[in-house]
């Protein structure tokens, strides 16, 4: 059946990085077109990336082939966004 309507999937990827890799990691994340927002953080996680994709398969493809391949990311924690509230 043809899909006539779909909602984009938004996910938040929290990354822990190695030492002295923050700039190249942010640059590589920025190169991925589906990543809409990148934040450099202080705390348990070093970088947050917001990703918007059309299908779960696309999310898997980007994560497996692009994000997971970036040198410097030593651990990541992905959350799917169910709903967003903005003021």
């Amino acid at each position: 059946m043809e899909i006539l309507y779909h909602m984009p999937i938004k996910a938040i990827i929290l990354c822990k990085l190695g030492i002295s890799v923050i700039r190249p990691v942010i640059e590589e994340l920025k190169m991925i077109p589906q990543i809409t927002k990148v934040m450099s953080l202080t705390g348990d996680y070093d970088v947050l990336a917001e990703i918007v994709v059309d299908t779960p398969e696309e999310l898997y493809e980007i994560f497996a082939n692009k994000i997971d391949m970036i040198n410097g990311i030593i651990a990541s924690n992905t959350h799917m966004v169910m709903k967003e509230f903005n003021k």
Partner: protein, 439 residues
């Protein structure tokens, strides 16, 4: 430019800065009270009509979630958490009468009894008053930027007092004690306006509607300002009558008696181009510009209220320049260049101060089972919480936080979030750098 709606604020302030030039000749034969009555009564009615038209268009011609007019007006009776828990209608009364009407009465009285340049001292004094208020009430630290911009403002004020007093003498007016008192009351009233105008809080029901239809904010703002204008004007009338009856001769008594005398030719006065300009270009359009900016504000850096307070300096700067150009106010060129330079520098320093103190963070929350629906909207009401993402994963909620100082951030975490039993764990991540890409 990071946020195109900054231009709305600049344009609104530039339109406001024309007011002293416009009213200069008007005050020769029209009472100050009459100008204020016509300006705010008609603007209040027009803004109210615009709110109703906007709601009707939204409900009939767009596919957006419908907005209930009844709900909008019922909001007048809701309590305002950010302003002593009083009802919104009382909050609009304080805002309208003390913040707007009183401020404009004494602004116009200062203009009429002294000079435009001397009156501009009031705006700069209010910036200093607000800085001390923030130090006293919010415990905001006086960092090097804040001390510098207060010093710069202080020097600007000295120059303006000197030039303004000389200019007043050249116009045949002396800066007397009454002019100084009017200036001080005007400064205090405008400081009150700047402090109170953004002390507005959405109720839980309003937040639900805003998330379904962002346009709800527009009629909400329009009704807020129209109510403030109309309630302010309505309060002004009986008070004018009381002052009129009291047998003490003041400038205000003269203006009030002229106002009552001119009531029979009110439509003639309404037809004057200065009054029409004041209503359309100095009230309705600037307020519409700031409503649009406020509703669509998407800055990754400073918040709307921070930019709004920084750009307030454009108003006195514009008035000084326009008064020199259009009504030949006395201002030696070399001193004018120094004042413009000092004000631009103050503007840059204020911006640096706000950016330096801005706290941006992400909070990741783990919630107790069964508390999801209950807590999300409750947290969303808190000052500083700009967005909430409900998540599937290790954490249940992600909050984007933006506060103007570390003190506000501390209050949010320790006084608002930590006491909530439904929150099991809070992970705080401060944002160093924020990179946004268009989708």
């Amino acid at each position: 430019m990071q946020n195109k709606y900054i231009f709305n604020l600049i344009l609104a302030n530039l339109l406001w800065s024309f007011i002293p030039v416009i009213v200069e000749d008007l005050f020769l034969d029209v009472s100050i009270i009459m100008v204020i009555f016509l300006r705010f009564f008609i603007s209040g009615v027009v803004l109210l009509i615009l709110a109703v038209i906007f709601v009707l268009i939204n409900n009939r011609m767009t596919h957006n979630e419908s907005i209930s007019l009844k709900f909008l007006f019922k909001n007048l009776l809701h309590k305002n958490r950010r302003f002593f828990d009083i009802k919104n209608i009382s909050y609009y009364l304080y805002l309208g009468f003390f913040g707007i009407i009183l401020n404009i009465i004494f602004f116009f009285l200062t203009l009429k009894t002294t000079s435009i340049i001397f009156t501009m001292v009031g705006f700069l004094l209010s910036v200093i008053f607000i800085a001390f208020y923030e130090k006293g009430v919010n415990f905001e630290k006086f960092d090097v930027f804040k001390v510098m911009y207060i010093i710069f403002l202080f020097f600007t004020i000295i120059i303006l007092i000197f030039v303004g007093s000389t200019g007043a003498v050249l116009k045949g007016r002396q800066v007397m004690l009454n002019g100084i008192i009017y200036l001080l009351i005007f400064s205090i009233a405008i400081s009150f306006l700047y402090i109170v105008i953004n002390r507005d809080a959405y109720s839980r029901e309003e937040i639900k509607i805003i998330n379904k239809n962002r346009n709800f904010k527009i009629p909400r703002f329009l009704i807020k300002m129209s109510s403030s204008f109309l309630i302010g004007v309505i309060c002004m009338l009986p008070l004018s009558l009381i002052i009129y009856i009291i047998p003490i001769e003041t400038d205000l008594t003269f203006e009030i008696s002229t106002f009552f005398a001119q009531f029979s030719i009110i439509f003639l006065i309404l037809g004057r181009w200065e009054i029409i300009f004041l209503i359309i270009f100095s009230t309705i359009i600037p307020y519409l510009l700031i409503f649009i900016a406020n509703v669509n504000w998407k800055s990754e850096n400073l918040t709307y209220s921070q930019w709004s307070s920084i750009l307030n300096l454009i108003d006195p700067m514009g008035s000084i320049i326009f008064s020199v150009i259009f009504v030949n106010e006395y201002f030696p060129l070399e001193l004018l260049i120094i004042v413009v330079f000092l004000l631009v520098f103050t503007f840059v320093i204020r911006y640096s101060h706000e950016v330096k103190n801005l706290v941006q963070a992400i909070l990741l929350l783990k919630l107790e089972k069964g508390s999801f629906n209950r807590i999300t909207l409750r947290i969303f009401k808190y000052y500083g919480v700009t967005s909430i993402y409900t998540l599937v994963g290790t954490y249940d909620l992600m909050l984007i936080i933006k506060t103007s100082s570390i003190k506000d951030f501390y209050n949010l975490i320790n006084l608002r979030l930590k006491p909530l039993n439904d929150i099991k764990d809070i992970e705080i991540l401060f944002i160093n750098k924020n990179i946004n890409k268009p989708i």
